[in-house]
Symmetry: C2
Subunit: 200 residues, 2 copies
């Protein structure tokens, strides 16, 4: 027995979304049916509101400004020659929430399982290269490769480092260490090794 | 830092859906933004297609028929005096997929954590009562309480049994046993006890 015709397309679309399997897609569709037309309209309208959201032509984060730049890239008060390269928009949000970073960003998009840069990710790095050549006279102050610290991302970071070679006075990665509130006893060797290296 | 204005409403709606937390809601919204307007329109249209889907007035499963009844309730070839009470639409689909059940259903909707029947679930049971009085001259052939076998549902089943007391020649539950392909060695005591009881 299959889901009813009117829900088939929705199930198909939902199961293609990241983190939603076919079973959850069916369950979600039944839920939406049960919620009734008022709720369905509200969801449809909310999806339509995304039309207003644009992608920044410089860092690829989202914005709703009249121009092509997001709030961060358009902010003249920020240090644009320091660039943090992040994987996801949510990583950028977390860094912004610290209130301790005043540079710009580059949102690369999620990495595949193999940890090899996709063609569109290489294009983004190339556009950063061009930008550094123009806006920073060929050399940025610092490029921070702000990826989750794990073995696969070490490989990704080395590819990024290779692509952007010679374009910044220094290239760094986020410090590995014991999370605030964590315990030395339970830290793995990589973490503790990082904490020793980053001591100060 | 918050998500951009145009996505705020969608994040709010998505995080209220079952099985989707606030973090996944944000990630999904960014994904939809990245997919662009073509994909957003497709999703919006698919949600709008749910308008065609109705809830059966008798068993509360979904349908798209002209009348008020779903395919199963409208099928004169089925044994309507045997009623399987299920929690979710997906449970009904699984039972239908066996091809071995020819009765009708009652879809109760998901139970809360406390395992106490909600007012709307009691209303559904009451409508079944009225239906049995009229369509089965006051007594159905069998009521199968087809809930996942677990301790909380034992409690739910006892409430259902209480509500429907005296309305069926017999009231049963699905057999507990070793799943096909499973191993005796790894079955817990409840399962193995059920398998012994249901031997034959």
């Amino acid at each position: 027995m299959k889901v009813t015709k009117g829900a088939r397309k929705l199930v198909e679309i939902l199961s293609a979304l990241p983190g939603i399997g076919p079973r959850q897609a069916i369950r979600l569709s039944f839920h939406l049916i049960r919620q009734g037309q008022g709720f369905q309209k509200e969801l449809g309208d909310a999806v339509r509101e995304l039309e207003a959201v644009k992608i920044c032509s410089q860092c690829f984060y989202v914005h709703e400004n009249a121009g092509k730049l997001c709030d961060i890239c358009a902010d003249a008060g920020r240090d644009h020659s320091t660039i943090a390269i992040v994987e996801k928009e949510t990583d950028l949000m977390s860094l912004e929430n610290t209130g301790k970073y005043r540079g710009r960003y580059l949102v690369l998009g999620e990495f595949g399982r193999a940890g090899i840069l996709e063609p569109d990710q290489k294009l983004k790095l190339k556009s950063l290269k061009t930008w550094i050549a123009k806006a920073c006279q060929g050399s940025a102050r610092e490029i921070i490769i702000a990826l989750n610290p794990n073995t696969q991302n070490d490989f990704v970071a080395s590819q990024i480092g290779h692509e952007l070679k010679g374009l910044a006075a220094k290239t760094t990665r986020l410090g590995v260490g014991i999370p605030s509130g964590g315990e030395i006893e339970f830290a793995d060797e990589e973490t503790l090794g990082g904490a020793l290296k980053g001591r100060g």
